[in-house]
């Protein structure tokens, strides 16, 4: 596969691993957070963790869009999906996310019309094909997916599709990053910066990480060679006493971002005053809502949404995992009460969730064998 195989080239990886080993010998133990769930997935899928020197630890960050959805919002989605005449469209990952009482998958089995789509435009097309249904798109994701929701809303307005609406849960990446940097006892030496979010917002918004918090950040791609190169770039910065925002993912990420995408985000969305994040609590100005011009396509206004806050289950330590304070297997319920079949926390649901990635791919490594129920 062109543009993929090159970045999975074992020879290139070997060179980078040698460079990393070389840089790491002269440095103390390093802890880097990979912000994106996509990175977490790639790290485990390709077994990268087991290749790095033991002095380098990768910590999984909050950038899995499914993992940060609080239970109350899932319950709201369930309430909308249970409304007569509603067809709820969502990405496959959302089906198994537990709300306070149930999941969309269970709601579907009980008779709710829940359908998996690969794009919000598919949901809009469905609304036009089935004018008697109220089609709701359950929008989740960072700035990566928000533009496609925005384009869909622009088209819905242009074509005046009245039976379509969006239940918006889009979030932004900078506020949670700030929340993590502000958390007491922060123990991170640098960041593998978001890749696909940065294709939209560019690298400028991360400058505060280097300037105010004095941690280097390297935006990184999602193939093994990308991740290894970004790790090497972080080590080199630390080695040379630099602290900057660098861009490893230049083939995709323009430093200025995507101005057109940013423009439609501004046109369609407004920033919410605050939004609840799973495990992280309420974070100010961290999420998007539909702007007043799009009020008629806002599912939160069209349907009766309970909007009740549901506390995370007591046993669940997703918040600590999302902040990088706990490694997945250090959570009390990891692999026992909380498994991909019966997730308690969202981190165990999406393949980008740190716990699910760890459970699925990482349980066996030459470095550490984590005892986990093997059924």
């Amino acid at each position: 596969m062109k543009y993929v195989d090159e970045f999975r080239d074992p020879a290139a990886a070997k060179l980078l691993l040698a460079e990393i080993a070389d840089l790491a010998t002269d440095q103390p133990n390093r802890k880097f957070m990979e912000v994106c769930g996509g990175h977490t997935h790639a790290i485990y899928r390709h077994g990268i963790e087991s290749l790095l020197p033991e002095s380098i630890e990768l910590v999984h960050g909050p950038g899995c869009p499914v993992c940060v959805i609080p239970m109350g919002r899932v319950d709201d989605a369930l309430a909308v999906a249970g409304t007569d005449g509603v067809t709820m469209c969502c990405f496959g990952d959302m089906l198994r996310v537990p709300g306070g009482t149930s999941t969309l998958l269970e709601a579907k089995a009980r008779g709710a019309d829940v359908r998996v789509v690969y794009s919000p435009l598919d949901a809009l097309a469905l609304a036009e094909r089935e004018p008697d249904r109220q089609v709701v798109f359950l929008a989740v994701g960072f700035e990566t997916t928000a533009p496609s929701t925005a384009v869909t809303l622009l088209q819905a307005r242009e074509r005046q599709v009245g039976n379509f609406s969006v239940f918006c849960n889009h979030v932004t990446i900078v506020p949670p990053l700030k929340a993590i940097l502000d958390s007491p006892g922060l123990d991170l030496d640098g960041f593998l910066g978001p890749g696909h979010v940065s294709t939209v917002i560019g690298t400028g918004p991360y400058r505060f990480v280097a300037e105010q918090y004095h941690r280097p950040l390297v935006t990184a791609g999602f193939e093994p060679v990308d991740i290894l190169q970004a790790v090497a770039m972080l080590l080199r910065q630390l080695d040379e006493g630099r602290c900057e925002v660098e861009n490893q993912y230049k083939r995709v990420v323009p430093d200025d971002g995507n101005e057109r995408a940013l423009a439609i985000l501004r046109e369609v969305f407004v920033v919410r005053p605050h939004f609840e994040w799973r495990g992280l609590g309420f974070i100010a100005q961290s999420a998007l809502a539909l702007g007043p011009e799009f009020a008629q396509w806002d599912a939160e206004l069209r349907f009766d949404v309970p909007g009740v806050r549901v506390a995370d289950p007591k046993a669940c330590q997703c918040g600590e995992v999302l902040k990088g304070a706990l490694r997945p297997w250090e959570c009390k319920v990891f692999g026992t009460a909380c498994t991909p079949e019966t997730p308690i926390g969202t981190c165990m649901v999406s393949s980008e969730g740190a716990c699910a990635a760890y459970y699925n791919y990482g349980r066996y490594s030459p470095r550490a064998r984590i005892p986990v129920r093997a059924d």
């Binding site: 074992p10 390709h46 077994g47 690969y118 393949s351 791919y361």
Partner: protein, 366 residues
């Protein structure tokens, strides 16, 4: 009738009776375009469906007796092997195959995995009221083509019809009966550390072909289902490598799930080499876009075989000579490490666990 009727009247009456009788004797003619509840009621309409569609397509001496059961002779020195499978794939036709072909090949392959020679199939059809008769005709024709190609007759069967909305068009169930020679025993218990794990060709073709045929992704990929009967390939392997330990067809859940079952059954670990996994570039590309792992995508014409390490080359050579196994290769080995787990070595030496599938990324693929 009275005696005072003229002879001419009697003659005319007899002629009418004869005509009625000859109509009664005629084979029932199927005049309907769509399946109705009557076709499942067991009466004339059912008979017309069987006579017009099922029997002409699948005819063989045992089926033609139209009994509700068939009699088979068990050859001396053999034991009976039986398997049954339900087929609900949607859509019913996709590049490289159809529900009819998969229903025949899938069941034959389940027999082949126990080292059995398939001898006969049964076919049960669950039809939804309103199904086009032409559609049924083509489904049965596909069953016939696949059964003939495999040399395995359909010896008995059943047809039922359910109300519109109670099923999705047409479901098939096939039962396979085969014979395995005394002394042949393929079992995970015989698997030993160091044994080689072989797959008979490219993985994930069937699942991606079905996904593409659904057409609900804005994605096109030229990939055909690999559906094929594998009993000849399996027989060839067993003849050349009698020490073959275990065979399984990696259908739903793909090679990953098959290897997990193996690891659990033999109480050992399975280690796969990612670079050795045969994946067509088009399948790899589709999986990459959709976030699927080809290891978990279904196959309908592949076997996973475990053979002693020193017989691996011979096994691959024998498989490669068979049409369905031209791309056979060793993909991994059995190990005493990580008992019960399947671990993949990534291209540059990292490792990851390949666990059982959770949920169902591609429902109704067979």
């Amino acid at each position: 009738m009275s005696d005072d009727q003229p002879d001419s009247d009697l003659a005319r009456r007899d002629a009418v009776f004869d005509r009625i009788e000859s109509w009664r004797q005629r084979a029932p003619v199927l005049r309907d375009d769509t399946i109705t509840m009557a076709h499942g009621a067991g009466g004339k309409a059912s008979q017309s469906l069987i006579e017009a569609i099922i029997r002409p397509a699948l005819s063989n001496p045992e089926l033609d007796r139209l009994a509700d059961a068939a009699v088979l002779d068990v050859p001396a020195g053999h034991r009976l092997v039986v398997t049954t499978d339900a087929f609900v794939v949607t859509p019913r036709r996709f590049a490289g195959g159809s529900i009819g072909e998969v229903a025949v090949n899938g069941t034959i392959n389940d027999l082949a995995c126990l080292g059995a020679r398939p001898a006969a199939l049964t076919l049960a059809l669950a039809l939804e009221e309103g199904l086009a008769v032409d559609e049924l005709r083509s489904v049965v024709a596909d069953v016939a083509t696949a059964a003939t190609a495999a040399g395995v007759p359909v010896v008995t069967g059943d047809t039922k019809v359910v109300e519109r909305g109670a099923a999705d068009g047409c479901y098939l169930t096939t039962t396979g009966i085969g014979f395995v020679a005394d002394g042949v025993s393929l079992s995970a218990d015989s698997v030993r550390p160091g044994d080689a794990v072989i797959v008979t060709g490219t993985i994930g073709d069937h699942g991606i072909a079905v996904l593409m045929a659904r057409g609900d992704l804005a994605l096109a990929a030229e990939v055909s289902s690999d559906t094929a009967p594998l009993h000849d390939l399996a027989a060839g392997l067993l003849a050349a490598v009698p020490a073959t330990r275990w065979l399984r067809d990696p259908t739903r859940g793909g090679v990953a799930s098959t290897c997990n079952e193996l690891a659990a059954l033999c109480d050992l670990g399975v280690e796969l080499d990612e670079v050795d996994l045969p994946v067509r570039p088009v399948v790899a590309g589709a999986c990459e876009l959709l976030g699927l792992d080809p290891l978990y995508v279904a196959n309908e014409g592949k076997l996973v075989a475990v053979v002693p390490a020193d017989a691996a080359n011979e096994a691959v050579a024998v498989m490669s000579r068979h049409g369905a196994g031209t791309e056979a290769r060793v993909i991994g080995r059995i190990t005493e490490d990580h008992v019960g787990l399947v671990v993949v070595r990534t291209a540059f030496g990292g490792t990851r666990i390949v666990d059982m599938l959770v949920g169902d990324p591609l429902p109704r693929i067979c």
